[in-house]
């Protein structure tokens, strides 16, 4: 089967995207998929022929072999393959994120596409413009250390999940040292 974009016969990867409550499926080769995900301007997303997955026909009660009411599979509730089931930090499920209910700051990284879709759908015909407000001041020693601390905490959670206890112990000591340093310095101090 050829790639949906370059039409060459290669090893294909399947990609699904939820838009307007429908699932769009693509079969792309590795290079085309990378380009699609990187949103390269020369490969506008519209250039890919997206086809909505066919809706499953409703099964009438009398047609059902058991005579019981059959529930057709809900297309919109199938999880896209690139989106994890839950947020690793707060365990918010992807379905909650899809409804626009993030549980922690990490959810915005994990479920960015779903949350953006939820935010945009509340304002019809209008995509949310990029954030243009003030940014937290960066460049101070305090902020830099804080960012490093947050990164280390994230890594600690990840290595604990993978049961890498030696690495976890090393990270825990580094976090304690960073916390002590942070409490000793004043905000706004320059590196």
């Amino acid at each position: 089967m050829p790639c949906d974009h370059c039409k060459k016969n290669k090893e294909l990867k399947s990609y699904a995207e939820v838009k307007d409550g429908q699932i769009y499926r693509l079969s792309l080769c590795e290079e085309c998929l990378a380009l699609y995900l990187s949103k390269a301007p020369e490969f506008s997303r519209n250039a890919f022929s997206r086809t909505a997955a066919p809706k499953k026909a409703k099964v009438r009660r009398e047609d059902s072999p058991t005579g019981l009411k059959a529930t057709p599979e809900k297309e919109a509730t199938s999880r896209p393959p690139d989106i994890p089931e839950t947020c690793p930090d707060c365990e918010t499920s992807w379905l909650q994120a899809k409804k626009g209910h993030p549980g922690c700051p990490s959810c915005f990284g994990v479920f960015d596409t779903l949350l953006r879709h939820a935010a945009d759908s509340s304002v019809p015909d209008k995509a949310r413009p990029p954030y243009a407000g003030r940014h937290p001041q960066s460049g101070s020693l305090h902020n830099d250390l804080r960012q490093e601390l947050q990164e280390k905490r994230r890594r600690l959670r990840a290595v604990l999940e993978q049961e890498q206890y030696e690495e976890a112990a090393r990270l825990r000591d580094a976090i304690t040292a960073l916390e002590n340093t942070l409490s000793a310095i004043q905000p706004g101090e320059q590196p």
């Binding site: 707060c90 549980g103 922690c104 700051p105 937290p136 947050q150 905000p187």
Partner: protein, 398 residues
């Protein structure tokens, strides 16, 4: 400051006597923030909420503006007393004593209030009776910058400051300017087609002009207006949950007919794609336009004083003769009598006491008096009438 001090000490009022200061009652600015290291409030355990509370309080106490601040945990204050914070515009009226580790850190002068662990981990509110939106936003911005360095707020390059509610993601900004515009209402009634709302809409789509509204509609089973003609002369007394005033209540929490008095609320919330400072500047521009509008209307009223004098007589008669005074009646009287005092039609009127009535006429403030039952609307209306009589006892038409 103990809670008893807070109950009895009203916030600082305007000191200059210009017309602008009479029209511009107060401004406040709120910034909502969440700590980067914790889940959002609805996903936090009790221990995590305690930790959030401790970290914010530790950081805030090192800020010079808050070094003498007092912290009032919500679970130590009675539900009626919690309303005091909302009635003085210091926090959201949704403050509840049932939330774990929730409370208000309040500066000595009642100008800066940090609300902890409500919908968001932190809400920074700065309030001033004299300064305009930009000046108030700048103070809030300084507090925010300091606390950001100490606490580290959840921020995303594309989303801005993060919040559990997607529509609050961004700057987390909410600005309010309260204006007393009775002349505009009285004159506009005769020149329809040129409304203040239409004027504000031309300035920015992010601005809204609303009224003060009482409490939360879902908790208010009985209405504000009795339509029967036979009841036209009956006192209009609102149900007790609706006897506090809140600016800019959303449509979900306030009935469309619950538009009280001639006080107007100019609000600006976060608008995606616009910087906080631009919103604050638009807010000031709109407030200036409304103040100018009110001044023009006052000029027209002064040229035809019999119109205003008739209103003043009715207000004074109502205050002097009635046993019960509803919130809406009280607010209309207060607004018109402030205008009359300002334009020289009323003598023996203490401006300071008149200003304070805006707070003192509300439910939790009325309940501070001994013998007033905060759950009985007639008891509240009776106390309100008494307070109005005390303040305007010697006031007379010039």
């Amino acid at each position: 400051m103990t809670f008893e001090d807070f109950r009895l000490r009203y916030p600082h009022q305007r000191s200059d006597e210009t017309v602008s200061s009479e029209i511009h009652v107060l401004s406040f600015c709120s910034l909502t923030r969440n700590l980067a290291d914790f889940s959002f409030c609805h996903r936090c355990s009790a221990e995590e909420k305690e930790a959030v509370q401790q970290r914010i309080l530790q950081a805030a106490k090192t800020l010079s503006a808050l070094k003498d601040a007092s912290y009032f945990p919500a679970d130590t204050v009675s539900p009626v007393d919690l309303l005091l914070f909302g009635e003085r515009f210091l926090s959201s009226y949704r403050l509840s004593g049932t939330e774990t580790a929730s409370g208000v850190l309040l500066s000595e002068d009642q100008r800066i209030a940090l609300t902890l662990n409500r919908e968001d981990h932190l809400s920074i509110r700065v309030l001033s009776p004299q300064e305009k939106g930009m000046a108030v936003w700048e103070i809030a911005d300084q507090v925010d910058t300091y606390l950001q360095e100490k606490l580290g707020f959840a921020f995303h390059d594309k989303w801005g400051y993060l919040s559990p509610s997607l529509h609050r993601c961004g700057t987390g900004l909410h600005m309010v300017t309260l204006l007393n515009m009775p002349a505009n209402a009285l004159v506009a009634g005769r020149n329809a087609g040129d409304s203040a709302e239409a004027q504000i809409a031309t300035l920015s789509s992010g601005l809204k002009l609303q009224y003060l509204s009482p409490g939360m509609l879902p908790r208010c089973p009985s209405g504000y207006i009795t339509p029967a003609v036979a009841e036209l002369m009956a006192p209009r007394i609102e149900d007790y949950p609706c006897q506090s005033l809140y600016p800019g209540s959303s449509e979900k929490t306030a009935a469309p007919q619950a538009t009280l008095g001639f006080y107007r609320v100019l609000t600006a919330k976060h608008v995606p794609g616009i910087h906080d400072r631009v919103i604050a500047a638009q807010m000031d521009e709109a407030a200036d336009a409304l103040i100018l509008r009110e001044r023009e209307a006052r000029k027209i009223l002064i040229e035809r004083p019999e119109f205003l004098r008739d209103y003043v007589r009715r207000c004074l008669a109502l205050i002097a003769q009635t046993h019960c005074l509803g919130l809406k009646e009280g607010l209309v009287c207060l607004s018109i009598l402030r205008l009359a005092a300002e334009t020289g039609h009323l003598k023996n009127c203490d401006k300071q006491q008149t200003d304070l009535l805006l707070y003192a006429m509300q439910r939790a403030h009325l309940a501070l008096s001994p013998g007033v039952d905060p759950e009985d609307p007639f008891s509240l209306a009776e106390e309100r009438a008494k307070r109005f009589r005390t303040v305007f006892e010697k006031a007379a038409l010039v």
